[in-house]
């Protein structure tokens, strides 16, 4: 799998997004990670790597620094290289800093038939960035992704956990304005999910 360039830190204060010092999960995230590790047979806790990396991404500003991956390796008691090779394989892991809000527009097959290309151009124009870049205020990163299994409601984009479907320019513009007004960090595994993980069974 080729890694997608996920946003140059153009105009962003990279240091602000670096977590070198005191890098560790919140208590809730740590408890959740340990719960997840118990779902796999003894000695096979490496299996938890994908869920735990998702949590790490939610905890550490939406991307995985080398330090974040090293920390995950220590949690799972595996070598750092085992985390690097996995994190670089899967397209959902951002290995560079991203904006607070990552826009992922589906570009494949049916979405493309229904105008995904034009949608990407529209967002590029609206935000003043190109695909793969991050806005200077650090709010948005624009990515194109492969099929998100939402072909019947094309064109569509995903922001954090949420699917935004049957998009028109107008609808898309309104959605982006909403996120901008909220201005909060959006991740696939949302922070409130980590806090309220009591609904996740043992």
């Amino acid at each position: 799998m080729q890694s997608e360039s996920t946003g140059s830190p153009k105009g962003m204060d990279v240091q602000k997004y670096s977590n070198k010092k005191n890098l560790r999960f919140s208590d809730e995230a740590l408890a959740l990670s340990q719960k997840i590790m118990k779902r796999y047979p003894e000695g096979k806790q490496k299996s938890a790597i994908l869920p735990v990396l998702h949590i790490a991404q939610a905890e550490f500003n939406g991307w995985l620094s080398v330090e974040a991956m090293d920390y995950v390796a220590s949690l799972l008691k595996i070598q750092s290289i085992e985390v690097y090779e996995v994190a670089s394989f899967y397209s959902m892991f951002n290995l560079k800093p991203v904006g607070k809000c990552v826009i992922e527009v589906c570009r494949t097959g049916p979405c493309w038939l229904m105008g995904a290309e034009d949608l990407v151009r529209f967002i590029e124009k609206k935000l003043g960035i190109k695909e793969g870049q991050t806005t200077t205020d650090g709010m948005f990163t624009l990515k194109t992704v492969e099929c998100l299994a939402s072909c019947g409601t094309a064109p569509m984009m995903q922001i954090g956990e949420k699917y935004h479907e049957n998009l028109t320019f107008e609808k898309c513009g309104t959605i982006l304005d909403d996120y901008k007004n909220k201005g909060e960090q959006i991740s696939h595994w949302r922070k409130e999910r980590i806090k309220n993980h009591t609904d996740i069974h043992q």
Binding site: M1, R39, P41, I49, F93, G109, E146, C151, G152, Q158
Partner: protein, 446 residues
């Protein structure tokens, strides 16, 4: 015709929750199954003729009977919910609307296979469905359908959801197993098959979401009754994800054997081609299956009406036929550029190739580059032959079927739409401007 077994009661109130699901007959199949012997369940599934709904169409009962049963080695059932085939969105729909159907199917299937720990491998992008499933699983634990000694049967089962992180290749069963073990999703060489050595080298069965859900009606109505639905060896119902230039895109549950023409044009299903356009081509089973022009999708080469079934769609082999695949039905209208569509698909396969096998890693990249030449207006007629040559050198030469999945669409596009490639060659640059399709009527209307 027209029976629905999986999504028949979506309009019922609270069907997403356990109480609503139970109020509509949910978990009755489980109660029935737990009174049966595991072998009897496998036998019922064999009798039903159920075939894998993920795309390959392998008989499910037979797959189950292959599972090795060495003493003291745990077995696992893994549900493949890594739905990533372009054009397919039925599993997401089913899990979102009726999560307990999948859970009930998984408990019955785990019991039949003797698995005490089972996993649902869901793709990471569907995180919101992940949370729906987690909630539903918790409800099932609270109701005593999961955990120790389920309904007093002595059978224990733990069910967990495992999320992926964005990789088409993890929909391939050995790639999925590698991913579940916490590695890159590189498919394994078979044999050994997962039924002998799967996840953590233990006997494992991997089944698609829809396949496991279908086990519930099979137990409820018996395998013999289920086998009466459908046509020939295509038994039962199938979820079809309809997308593209049709009036009514969405998920439809059909009895296998509905004529393709009826499926496209009747108001009950797709409702015809939008904006009064003509149909140009159809990809009938997800992006990997060969594309067919209108005349061949509506009728076979022999002139018989084409049906939505495993056999009828593949009638004529790849010369004049295609496959049912995962049921991702993509319709394209007369304004569609087959070449550009093919480039889009090929870019997808290039992006998603795991990189283990050279023919796929390199071949998909070259095919994408050559197709881009057509779009840029620089291609020559030799490039058509070169594309044909490359696809032939990928097919059958890779560890997993991603190679075929990438090669077949290219072969079919050249086979059925060669004049369009030649047009690109002839008109060069002009073609790019003249045929810039998809000025998204839909987006502009709004």
């Amino acid at each position: 015709m027209g029976r629905q077994l999986l999504i028949n009661d979506l309009d019922k109130e609270g069907i997403q929750s356990i109480s609503g699901y139970k109020a509509n007959g949910g978990y009755s199949a489980l109660e029935k199954a737990l009174k049966m012997k595991p072998e009897e369940i496998v036998e019922e599934v064999k009798k039903s003729g159920l075939r894998g709904r993920g795309g390959a169409g392998f008989p499910t009962g037979m797959k189950w009977s292959f599972i090795a049963k060495p003493p003291d080695v745990p077995r696992h059932l893994v549900c493949n919910a890594d739905e990533s085939e372009p054009g397919t969105f039925k599993d997401r729909f089913l899990m979102e609307k009726k999560p307990h159907l999948l859970i009930e199917g998984m408990i019955i299937s785990s019991f039949a296979l003797g698995a005490n720990t089972s996993y649902i491998y869901i793709r990471g992008e569907m995180m919101y469905v992940f949370h729906i499933l987690e909630k539903a699983i918790q409800e099932a634990y609270d109701a005593g359908y999961l955990g120790k000694n389920i309904l007093g049967s002595g059978f224990d089962l733990d069910l967990y959801v495992h999320c992926g992180a964005g990789a088409y290749i993890c929909g391939e069963e050995t790639g999925l197993i590698e991913s579940l073990e916490g590695k890159r999703g590189n498919p394994r060489i078979k044999p050994p098959f997962p039924a002998i050595q799967g996840v953590w080298m233990r006997p494992t069965v991997v089944n698609n979401v829809e396949t496991l859900a279908a086990v519930v009606p099979i137990i409820n109505m018996t395998g013999d009754e289920y086998a009466k639905i459908g046509v020939g060896k295509s038994t039962g119902t199938k979820l079809i994800s309809a997308s593209g230039h049709i009036n009514k895109p969405g998920v439809y549950e059909i009895e296998l054997g509905v004529p393709v023409e009826e499926f496209i044009y009747s108001e009950k299903y797709c409702g015809g081609i939008r904006n009064g356009k003509k149909l140009k081509a159809v990809v009938a089973g997800g992006s990997s299956v060969p594309i067919l022009p209108t005349e061949l999708i509506l009728k076979t080469a022999k002139g018989e009406p084409r049906l939505m079934s495993y056999e009828s769609l593949s009638d004529g082999g790849f010369q004049t036929g295609t496959m049912l695949g995962s049921g991702g039905f993509i319709a394209m209208d007369e304004d569609t550029s087959i070449v550009k569509n093919l480039w889009n698909f090929t870019r997808f396969y290039h992006h998603e190739s795991c990189g283990q096998c050279s023919p796929c890693r390199e071949g998909t990249g070259w095919m994408e580059k050559i197709l881009h030449k057509f779009l840029d207006g620089h291609a020559t007629s030799k490039d058509i032959d070169l594309l044909w040559d490359i696809q032939g050198k990928i097919e059958g030469k890779t560890i997993c079927p991603l190679g075929e999945a990438a090669a077949w669409p290219v072969a079919a596009a050249i086979r059925h739409f060669r004049p369009e490639f030649e047009e690109y060659v002839k008109n060069g640059k002009n073609m790019v401007d003249v045929k810039h399709y998809y000025r998204i009527n839909k987006l502009q209307e709004a």
